[in-house]
Amino acid sequence: MTLDATDRQIIEALQGGLPLVSTPYAAVAEQLGIAEDQLTERLAAMKASGVVRRIAAAPNHYKLGMTANGMTVWDVADDQITELGALIGALPFVTHCYERPRALPEWPYNLFAMVHGSSREEVEEKRARIKDILGDALRASDVLVSTRILKKTGLRLRKRG
């Protein structure tokens, strides 16, 4: 999708989030000096093209009691990863699940699944459930626990001058 100047203004205006008022699109449209219909039509086009994935809340897992998380990583047979990845991604405690390239010899893992839990033990239990699902297709695995958030910002578009 090619974004024009108005689309970019809309994205910039919404990067910080949607105003929490009963008519949020009208409020943003007014701020941008465009009609509400124009704004929502453009947002609909952005949703259709995938530029906007969804308009939703980003929960803070730590505050919600999910204080433990582990990036579980798996070396899965390439010919089974699509089928097995879909099963792992559908688990309710897995928030992000991707196939990524290996970086051999240092990094043999090609499936990444972020697991959240209220304790380290819970994360390990959930990891064991993933291991069961992967069965014979699994060659090696590891779990990387985050010890510190070093930076967390949303996507920031650079202003084009």
Binding site: L3, I11, L14, Q15, G16, G17, L18, L20, S22, T23, Y25, E36, T40, L43, K47, S49, G50, V51, V52, R53, R54, I55, A56, A57, A58, P59, N60, K63, L64, G65, G85, I88, G89, A90, P92, T95, H96, C97, Y98, E99, R100, P101, A103, W107, F112, H116, L144, V145, S146, T147, R148, I149, L150, K152, T153, G154, L155, R156, L157, R158
Partner: protein
């Protein structure tokens, strides 16, 4: 600290579904939860102010805008960690950065407007730090979801 009652848990789960583009989009959320629109807005504000929600709004996909996201990792020696961190975080393209317990101990996401921006930024970080930046672009994405126990 606020009470995370059943209604708030319901609300957090519902708010992770796509909000509509109607004139008053929170009415549908209110109806689903069984609250008034004002109550929904009030609760969302409180959840956000108290840090239960980090953000509410559109999730943009840099890749669909012609840009790119890429997970990257580095093995940073402990004694250099803070100095390297300062250099890495100085790049506006670094959206998230986590320390993880592994030999590859610094994991960050690059978000750039062009696919070339990923490689350019990774190479710049390598030049500045003298440490290899491993890039792990997504090849396939499996469904993303998160639900609190309701």
């Amino acid at each position: 600290m606020i009470d995370l009652d059943r209604i708030n848990r319901d609300l957090i789960n519902t708010l992770q579904d796509d909000l509509g583009l109607e004139h008053r989009p929170f009415q549908a959320v209110a109806q689903k939860i069984g609250l008034s629109e004002d109550e929904v807005l009030e609760r969302v504000k409180v959840l956000k102010e108290n840090g239960y929600l980090t953000r509410f709004g559109p999730f943009f996909d840099a890749a669909a805008m012609g840009g790119a996201f890429c997970l990257c990792a580095m093995a940073v020696p402990a004694e250099e960690f803070e100095a390297v961190l300062t250099k890495v975080n100085a790049h506006a393209e670094v959206a998230h950065n986590y320390e993880r317990a592994h030999r590859l101990n610094m994991w960050f996401v690059l978000a750039t407007e062009t696919p070339e921006g990923i490689t350019d930024t990774a190479r710049a970080i390598e030049r500045e730090t003298g440490i290899t930046v491993h890039c792990f672009p997504k090849l396939q994405e499996f469904y993303i979801g998160f639900r609190v126990a309701a």
